[in-house]
């Protein structure tokens, strides 16, 4: 009983419970035939939301006003350029990954440079940056659809003992993010900044340096996700990132991370990402249209934020 009691106090448990309920409901509807297929699809598509969600979570943890709207553009640019660089050549897979990560790092630096130098709120800084990054992606892409190297395409679409590779990658990175948040000095620092920027500065935390690293981390994760997603879907598309703008924020919120900052939750992002995908497929199997799916998604987000409450009380 104690286990249940302590589990129910963890905010992330609810997103898993919800995901599980939806999973069962979908499978029951199809008479159990789709269990494996549905689970694999859910893990695969959730993996991409998880990757961008983790990055966004780090930024949101920094406190009110911190958000990265540049995520979709970064994904597109990294996917486009990495595929172009690899030229369908298997030997260039790793260098291609390095290129994607480097693009992320540059975008992240640009984001924070704008925030700091122009003293503008992150939302408008990352927005301006995303316009430029998106254009760069359009310019490099030129409407061509370059295929990923065969080995990479194979890796991203296949499974090991039934688990999609991309989900495994997401798992490794989630564990890494968890350690970073829970065990390291850096993790403590971003949580402190998110609770009170002023108190963090007065406790001797290098606030600017920490925020700088965080924005780079978010962009790098987005770039890496773009690299995987482009390889998975057989080529980069210019709109491939667009649905991840709202999705990256939504999974963070539903996953139990405090929107007011200071408290983040890696596990919740898994639950939320699976849930978001499963809700869509459940409504699909029940024959509901895209409209109902979107409305449900929106209402869920609002319900979660209303239930979770707003800013932490010491701010404003």
């Amino acid at each position: 009983m104690n286990i249940f009691a302590s589990l129910s106090r963890k905010p992330w448990i609810w997103s898993f419970v919800a995901a599980f309920v939806v999973w069962i409901a979908t499978i029951l509807f199809t008479g159990g035939t789709s269990a494996i297929g549905l689970s694999q699809a859910a893990l695969t598509f959730a993996a991409f939301s998880i990757l961008v969600g983790i990055g966004q979570m780090f930024v949101i943890t920094l406190g009110p006003g911190n958000i990265d709207l540049c995520v979709p553009a970064t994904m597109t640019l990294a996917g486009t350029i990495a595929l172009k660089f690899m030229q369908v050549d298997n030997s260039l897979i790793l260098p291609g990954l390095v290129v994607a990560v480097a693009i992320g790092a540059v975008v992240g630096m640009g984001n924070f440079a704008l925030i700091k130098l122009l003293q503008i709120p992150p939302i408008i800084a990352t927005l301006s940056m995303s316009f430029i990054v998106q254009s760069t992606a359009i310019w490099t892409n030129r409407g061509l659809r370059i295929k990923p190297p065969q080995a990479l395409a194979k890796f991203t679409t296949e499974t090991t003992i039934g688990i999609p590779h991309v989900a495994l990658v997401a798992l490794v990175l989630s564990v890494f993010a968890f350690i970073l948040l829970q065990k390291t000095v850096y993790g403590r620092w971003i949580a402190a900044i998110g609770q009170s920027n002023r108190a963090a500065r007065m406790a001797g935390i290098p606030v600017d340096g920490t925020r700088f690293v965080t924005y780079i981390l978010c962009a790098v994760l987005a770039a890496f996700c773009g690299y995987l997603l482009a390889s998975f879907s057989g080529g980069a598309a210019l709109n491939m990132g667009s649905e991840y703008l709202l999705m990256s924020i939504a999974v963070v919120v539903i996953g139990g991370t405090a929107v007011a900052g200071g408290n983040s939750n890696v596990a919740g992002i898994w639950g939320a990402s699976l849930f978001m995908f499963l809700v869509v497929s459940m409504l699909n199997t029940y024959g509901a249209g895209a409209g109902i799916r979107l409305i449900m998604t929106g209402l869920i987000i609002i319900a979660v934020i209303v239930a979770a409450g707003g800013r932490n009380p010491n701010q404003r």
Partner: protein, 315 residues
């Protein structure tokens, strides 16, 4: 006098200057644009963007942000192209309900002290879903009157210009000149002292949201008037464009410092930036990028000006 210009005028200076320079550049590159038809073509699409920018500006007046502006305008466009055209009464009822929803959002955000960004993010899914329900595939027809207004050809000055001037004037009157607008801006500037003077902040926020919804509805209807038909994704870019427009026009995210005239100028500048680049024969690939670059340059200029002003004040 110590200052030649009050800070409100300085706030308008840079947006006006950027628009003028851009306009001169466009005329230089493409002299044919300097005609009735040319101007109308240049600024046609600016009308709905300007209205959406005003709506966003209202939300920003009370220190909030609306991430659902684009989907809401799309939703309104879908309603306008279907219900408002076929059964006007139901159409109007839907739009009134939409305004009420916005007011309720304002109340919810205030009472529960929720971050407006997340609530409107959720609403963006809801509006998008409703739009898809109403119009699953692109189609519908613009109401005759909306179409008639948008393509009318008044003498001497093109419709687009007149519309933008009227929008700016009306918004300026409501927000900057009327006694109610003062209270709304006061909430953004110093909510505590407004409350101490005996005003209801809750009411002010609800009113602001409702007013914003009204302007966004006008944006949706005028957009349909231009495009004749609608689809659920017709105005998704408006969320980002409207925020950028407000900022370009000298508005700020916090502190109730906004400028309706500036916001309209900001919307015009963003619209013009695209045409400018196509006249430059730069590939359309860079259109969005140019909007970003213009945003950064203008913000940089503003920072510079603020610094100079502060230095002057201190000395």
């Amino acid at each position: 006098m110590k200052r030649a210009l009050p800070s409100d005028s300085i706030r308008l200076l840079i947006p006006a200057l950027s628009l003028t320079i851009l306009l001169i550049a466009v005329f230089y590159l493409q002299p044919r644009a300097m005609s009735y038809v040319g101007l109308n073509l240049l600024f046609n699409l600016a009308v709905p963007i300007a209205l959406a920018t005003i709506a966003q500006m209202l939300i920003m007046t009370v220190n909030d942000l609306d991430l659902s502006m684009g989907t809401f305008v799309s939703f309104v466009a879908c309603v306008a192209a279907t219900f408002l055209q076929a059964t006007p009464v139901i159409g109007v009822l839907i739009l009134v309900a939409a305004i009420a929803t916005y007011a309720a959002l304002g109340v919810l955000i205030h009472v529960r002290t929720l971050p407006s960004i997340v609530v409107t993010l959720g609403m963006s899914f809801v509006w998008g879903g409703l739009a898809v329900l109403i119009l699953p595939a692109p189609g519908g027809h613009a109401p005759e009157w909306a179409r008639a207004v948008m393509i009318s050809r008044p003498p001497l000055v093109p419709m687009a210009i007149i519309a933008c001037v009227v929008i700016a004037m009306v918004a300026h009157f409501v927000i900057m000149r009327s006694s109610i607008g003062v209270i709304l801006r006061g909430v953004g500037g110093n909510a505590r002292s407004v409350e101490r003077a005996g005003w209801s902040i809750l009411g002010a926020r609800a009113a602001t949201y409702a007013l914003a919804a009204f302007f966004a509805i006008l944006a949706g209807i005028s957009l349909v008037g231009l495009t004749t038909s609608a689809d659920a994704n017709i105005a998704l870019r408006y969320t980002l464009l409207s925020i950028a427009g407000v900022i370009l026009g000298g508005g700020e995210f916090t502190g109730g410092r906004v400028s309706p005239i500036g916001a309209v100028i900001g919307a015009l500048t963003l619209t013009l930036a695209g045409s400018f680049l196509s006249f430059l024969r730069i590939s359309p690939d860079w259109q969005i990028g140019a909007q970003g670059a213009i945003l950064i340059v203008v913000l940089g200029l503003r920072l510079l000006l603020n610094r100079l002003e502060n230095r002057e004040k201190r000395s």
